[in-house]
Point group: C2
């Protein structure tokens, strides 16, 4: 087809696109996932490639397909195949302290799909949702795609600031409006790495009950704790009050490429999420193999292995930052998860740092991607999950040099 | 939680649900996929369990994971991992006569997700779409979930009736309205089994160009042809005019449980579908394994095997119908695919037949599920894909007895 015909067809077709599509915008096409190997990748939350349990998954695939192949390769409509539901139920009770029945569970294509479905369940264009500030970039995008008005509430070291949350809820109430839900990542928050204290969790559940505010608890990093004792989930603290939706994933503890996550919630919510889930069921193939991986005990072993591996990387990155960053740069010290959140001094922008770092072979996460309100210019997210220790030390060294150079060259603006 | 608290929480939460969720309704939760083994299952379009290539997939999984495990188990955002895109491009050119570049392709979680994304791309609530009458029940549900007004156009033996289609388009134009797209299954149509003639395909493309009407060509059964030569796809006939979206799937030729399908379309459409696809990419795990299955030549061999197997089943079902159905019952004779469409005589309803058949161990597809307008009471869909020949003969025998009994007992109403 000639370019002119192509352009005419495209403009004719795009006149017909829905409001929903206009909000969502375009997505990547033809992106080669191997791009991350071309630099030291502090930008994305990619699991360590060498940690992926390839041989154990080959074994699990063989066992699961030999035993249950007829069902692993067949359609399975609805909320999830029984084998993965059973394993997940056990895992949630053992590790998360969450008791969930079949009626409380939806297996999804990663936590991404779980979040997308929950946002669709509640949000009409123009509806209010509340988020942390900053918050997970996938949720920022999904909020935009649903046309949400996002009220962003600051975080301190113990979590979302309750006075600010309460203030926002009271303001909305005075305006005769109601927030549809609060979205948060209370454990090893993405992007800041902070963890909500037990007291803050309790306060949050109380505020949620007082205002009838549903909470979406995204707990993607729960299992990857390197220091201190685990804390109860909001889902557990809310004690089946029906207001908390708990979202999790196998992406960080098994394999992101299998696209398996879950939602735990009130049965009425699960039934409606299942109604919105229009993909004829989450992969029985991946579900059966992951279920075998969990049933054999390999998952639990593997989580132990990952904790050791990522703890060392976090320690390596923190030590490298301590050793090399110029004065004025600050960062968080997470107890788990994948991320450190850095604040730049003197009007230095994440765009400037990112551009110059890329030229020197290091990618970072732009702070601005983690806010719906356009702020975050002085923030950078660093993931220590993908690269090994040698690369982490080299990458932080490069980043420190980049920041030092930019600070020296730029007039002081702050 | 007490039942009273649960009920209060559910009613409080459901007040907050979006318009979109209200349209979509609830979905199944806790459904055991093994229910289909409890009866002779003519109801669903389930692939034959014994045909699923379990051992070949174990081999493909081993090879793909050993070679590319780091990428099969990692995130891959965007339109599809390069390995499956390459294999699909070859398959489409070899079998379907479709030349597609990376920019024309989106890999989806089955054709279901592809259709759902296309419907979302075009439809605002209240928008008009055009369908065949009857049409695929998954599309009926997706149309409802998007709040579409469906204009249903009758089929004859050669496809959608062009005069009726043209009449509907002219009526819409006179009202100042425009249909967003036409959805159809031109080859071994679901549910009727009919195939559009070459002439009808050409006429359709001409009407589409005349009215600027996009066409969604759902070709899930393309490879499963048992008689006569293959016909060109609408996508090929439209010769890159940008108006045809071609949807396909590995569900019928490899494994429904792997949830792999695709959309071929204009690059502008693909970019926007990718924007709506909020699941962080279709499974790299399944994609790498399916790509290996295709690259090794096993897919092509397997399709040949399936054609022989399903041809025999179709012949068995047709012969059994010929031998046992009472006068007045009529049915289609498909050249391929999974389905036969039966018309009941004398006011007999599909509900009555289905209820009585179930009591006797046979499930059928209710005709009413394949219309958006509430008709189809005298229609039944029979799938010959799931059961073996002995079961097919027994099932048709039971069904014939059920129909004969109902005809004898019921007063003639038509």
């Amino acid at each position: 087809m000639s370019e002119a015909v192509q352009t005419r067809a495209e403009s004719m077709i795009s006149e017909l696109f829905s409001e929903r599509s206009r909000l969502a915008g375009t997505g990547p096409v033809g992106l080669d996932p191997k791009w991350v190997t071309q630099m030291i990748a502090f930008g994305g939350g990619f699991p360590d490639p060498s940690s992926l349990p390839i041989l154990d998954l080959i074994d699990a695939a063989k066992i699961a397909l030999q035993r249950d192949g007829e069902w692993a390769l067949q359609y399975a409509f609805g909320s999830g195949v029984p084998e993965i539901v059973e394993q997940l139920t056990r895992k949630l009770e053992r590790d998360q302290g969450i008791r969930a029945g079949v009626e409380n569970l939806l297996i999804t294509s990663g936590a991404s799909q779980g979040l997308a479905l929950i946002f669709e369940l509640f949000l009409n264009p123009g509806d209010v949702m509340i988020s942390e500030s900053p918050f997970f970039l996938g949720a920022v995008e999904t909020a935009k795609a649903n046309g949400a008005e996002v009220v962003e509430i600051p975080l301190d070291d113990d979590g979302i600031v309750i006075a600010d949350l309460r203030g926002a809820l009271e303001r909305l109430r005075a305006e005769g409006r109601r927030a549809k839900f609060l979205y948060l990542v209370p454990t090893f928050q993405n992007p800041t790495g902070i963890t909500y204290s037990l007291e803050r969790r309790r306060e949050l559940v109380a505020v949620s009950e007082e205002f009838g505010l549903p909470i979406v608890e995204d707990d993607a990093y729960f299992d990857l704790r390197y220091d201190n004792d685990k804390l109860p989930t909001l889902y557990e603290l809310a004690n089946d009050n029906g207001l908390v939706m708990y979202v999790g994933t196998f992406s960080k503890i098994l394999a992101a490429g299998m696209r398996l996550g879950w939602v735990v919630a009130n049965p009425e919510i699960i039934r409606h999420l299942s109604g919105l889930k229009n993909d004829s069921g989450t992969s029985p193939f991946s579900s059966h193999i992951a279920a075998e991986f969990a049933a054999s005990g390999t998952l639990l072993e593997h989580i132990g292995h990952l904790k050791g591996l990522y703890r060392t990387r976090r320690d390596t990155m923190l030590a490298a930052l301590d050793a090399s960053m110029p004065d004025g740069v600050t960062w968080t010290r997470p107890d788990g998860g994948f991320f450190i959140w850095m604040t730049l001094p003197n009007g230095l922008t994440c765009d400037a740092v990112s551009t110059k770092a890329r030229e020197n072979g290091v990618s970072v996460g732009l702070g601005t991607m983690f806010f719906a309100n356009g702020t975050g210019d002085d923030k950078v997210r660093l993931a220590y999950s993908f690269n090994n220790e040698v690369e982490i030390e080299r990458g932080v060294g490069i980043l420190a040099t980049v920041i030092r150079d930019l600070l020296r060259d730029a007039p002081e603006t702050a």
